[in-house]
Assembly symmetry: D2
Homo-oligomer: 325 residues x 4
């Protein structure tokens, strides 16, 4: 099948690679000509403009946009909407806000275009491991593009079958048609929200293990624990066995004290939108929120809330803070 | 190797079974004669008292206690300590509080006995899948019992190797000698704390997906999502892939709305002790705490804190609560 | 001074009353004629339409809208904007979302109208105690309306002076010009967010006191505590002394077990918007979020997240949930 | 009445002062002779040993210990228990763990001594404002010491009466006999737990106000807010009016950006014990826990949990952390 890819970063480039390896025909574009040139070596056709991409594809066209969410994605969709013809399909595979995908789907349908929002998980491992995809859009279009989706997905062998599963067969390959436009990015948002929570659960547990030698504990109750060995052991037979644990064990194997990291942690849109969706639907999400806030705090150089507490403690108790470090 | 097992519940019975299948010699005791009789059919020797068990084992003896933590475990250790001879080994494989294991280790060593605290994960799946074990105790004793531990562990094939791992080889089989007495149960406690956090992360994320059709959302932003299909898809290639996800997908496959459950969730000691250990070592553990509190709240029929809020709202704003249901 | 009030509920009606008592001239309108008739007995002029209100006021007019946020407020502003003349002032004293106030201010200024967003705290006590007001809008307009604002505010005597305070004198009366449009409702939103956190702090602390007789505590460590007496004692000399404590003590004095309440707690926009503002500005707000989530949970009859946990526990441990109640 | 005070720090010294001013007879002791000498100028009798204190008091004696909790308090109680005679009363007015007070009460009663645990709030303001006291112990002893307690308490005039309050009259003076030994410190612990939650509620709300000028907000939705003016305004007529707000407003009046503080916040035992009591009684306390954790995090120079998150993000997404600062 034929697909145009706009945005050849880590994700976009490897999606093209995985499709090429499966025998699909890919047209590739990025503002920076380098990644397109590299992909051309592997069988893609590189083009130097959106116009050239549209010209290079046979109608009905399928163009996958893999750009940073917000302005870059919005601009690409707007430009392509003006170039495409009725019946063509635009895919946003990036991490867009799901409400934007609802809006864009409606706007594009009004122009006779089709839109899919495909939340795509896989990171740097997707090329090899396949991509987990959560798809929003019209059923007919999702089915039409099945060869592409099936090629990108990890495939049935990637996990043992679930006893009793009798739903649509595509999830057993690693992709799901979640619903109409927006449902794909909504589902992907929640995936990432859960990811934040799981990561923070490991972070807190390992932090306590790391402090098991604390002088605050009675002397005979202190331990110096080997986190690389413990996480390695948990990978087999324990309840916390997971891909995140595999990656954590790997990081600790190479750098047991994680000295290569500062502990200032970034966050991206999905973690935030998950909290906002929880608030909007009145669902309590204390763990997902705490996970997000831990990242905010890890980057908070200003410490204003701590200053308020110290000022109050001085006010009522005369408690002096240690001098500013 | 020879091992006596005290407590033949779900965990103890299957540990004996797994050892028997590996060719070990097991003596089994439970207050209830039924499970011992069943195990006798599979090759164990069932005895009807702790005295008989001690008599049936050759010195130096190894006795594994697998009983509810607290009073039952304390009583069994006390009784056995009076019956055993110097050089014998007592193992507490249950979910004891780690500070109890520190104390018991010291007390038993004073009597010339050896003690191992082995936090054991595996649940109903351990017989087949093997047990993940976190061990506290003297190095020499842990090494002496390696044939038993290796037979119980899942084994190296249970997970792909971790690139760069160069530590002790036992964790690659699924068990770890974490440190002196107490370190095994401390590590198991944190394992369960992390488990609570991961479970709650899934619970909250799925709860938001479940409410994606909420009337609180604008009409064009509502979705009716198929959670069985979504969790099935996540099992392959996503960041949240995990054993807990496998089990969740399985539950949803059979009962998509989880109608077989009330939502009143039990908790056991480890989740609580994890929070207490966090407080004692001054480690922030908001996610692990929130996960525990969600279980408390799920069982709170009294709702006193909610009543306080309603009374305050009435006090300052004249807000009327809906009538008591 | 002259003021028109649209919306004569608990808040709007009492604001008119407080202004009448201070000698101001009030025109009052509500869809329901009853409250206007009552206010007419106390000196207000009741009108039966927005048109009549506009006609009854001398230019430049000042109209205060005190309606539920969202659609009712939006409709009233739209209608009045069409009826008013350049130079007139519209005040939204309700609990509108601050971003709406930014937007409305811009739209009204484009028509030559002035807009103030006045977050107003005071509840059922405002008539007597005065209203705390947080104001967004043009400085000149805020100053022009000072007689109204000063009459509504509690006044300087309501609290002892703050040593060292050298700012604008209006906050010492109980109102503050926070900034341009939106700043008033933003500040009020945060006020309510803090209120949620303080309320939940009391709710949790009292809940623990309420459970000090728990059978989970060792027998000699259980207490049956008298919460009415304890909260009464805290009102003097303690660090938690506060108006909310006064109201809590009063509720407990009359109903020590708060049996008049169900514990299902409502929430309104500000608590939610506070969490969203925290997320948007990357400020960690775990307490304000937990307070909101406690209210969500108090009303959650569905318990889906608890069902997920129970399903997982059954999956890995064979743990049976108690039968559905 | 006659009272001996052991420990003449900020709290102990001022308690003696307040008693002297009320005409009571005080014997004062501290390891450091300076504060005793100062109090002697104000009418106290200073002694230089516990033996001298016991000799200086007429039986039945009343000795109030006001020392740091833990070892210093334990040592003083042990020493005095050996010196006192049956019928004498020991008071622990410090911030002891309530379970210690249960234990000490039992031990002292076995020697014929009486024990009161008096959780005492008041900080640097107690001399002037009076002390809020939460008392555990035998009813007869609490009543016998009423002249002392009444003199220390803020008195009825410190707050308007609570409508409908019909309980014991002592809480209206600012002190409460909460129950048997331990109940005083238990109640004080919860008081401080609530205090932590209220402080953090203010800290988070003010932190969001402080970031209302964030570049993350759309340009027309940013405000530069004056926190000194806003907190001053809230002191009158708002729902968050409280002594903590008064102190916060005062701090902001003198130092609007709180530049005198680093934001590294200490915590003391009660905040931690509150969380442990919540866990022990299975009461959800997310706000009280979050408030404690915020303090832990404010002092966390190690950032190990953040490093775990960064390592995981690098592992699955190739996300690079900013270089270590």
């Amino acid at each position: 099948m034929q697909l145009g890819m706009v945005g050849l970063g880590r994700m976009g480039g490897n999606i093209v690679r995985r499709l090429l390896r499966a025998g699909h025909d890919c047209v590739a574009f990025d503002r920076d000509p380098a990644p397109g040139a590299a992909l051309a070596q592997e069988g893609a056709r590189a083009v130097d403009s959106l116009e050239a991409m549209v010209a290079a594809l046979a109608a009905p066209r399928t163009i996958w946009i893999m750009l940073p969410n917000g302005a870059p994605t919005e601009a690409a969709i707007d430009s392509l909407a003006a170039l495409l013809s009725p019946g063509d399909v635009l895919i946003d595979g990036g991490n867009s806000m799901w409400k934007d995908s609802v809006r864009r789907g409606t706007a594009l349908r009004a122009k006779g275009l089709h839109f899919l929002d495909i939340g795509t998980s896989g990171g740097v491992w997707g090329l090899e491991r396949g991509y987990s995809m959560m798809i929003g859009g019209e059923d007919e279009i999702v089915r039409r593009l099945d060869p592409i989706l099936a090629a990108l997905a990890p495939g049935k062998a990637a996990a043992p079958p679930t006893p009793g599963y009798a739903g649509d067969p595509r999830p057993e390959q690693g992709y799901v048609h979640a619903g109409p436009n927006g449902a794909g990015h909504f589902t992907k948002m929640i995936h990432n929200g859960i990811e934040y929570g799981m990561m923070q659960a490991f972070a807190e547990g390992l932090d306590i293990l790391h402090h098991a030698d604390s002088a605050a504990l009675p002397e005979d109750q202190r331990f110096t624990l080997n986190l690389a060995e413990i996480t390695e052991a948990w990978r087999r037979g324990s309840v916390v066995a997971s891909w995140l644990l595999d990656l954590t064990a790997q990081a600790l194997a190479g750098d047991p004290a994680l000295e290569g990291f500062s502990g200032h942690v970034s966050d991206s849109g999905e973690g935030r939108w998950t909290v906002q969706a929880a608030v909007e639907t009145a669902v309590a999400a204390p763990v997902l929120s705490a996970a997000l806030y831990a990242r905010f705090t890890s980057r908070d150089e200003d410490r204003f809330s701590g200053k308020v507490l110290s000022a109050q403690r001085k006010g009522f108790g005369g408690h002096l803070e240690s001098p500013k470090k």
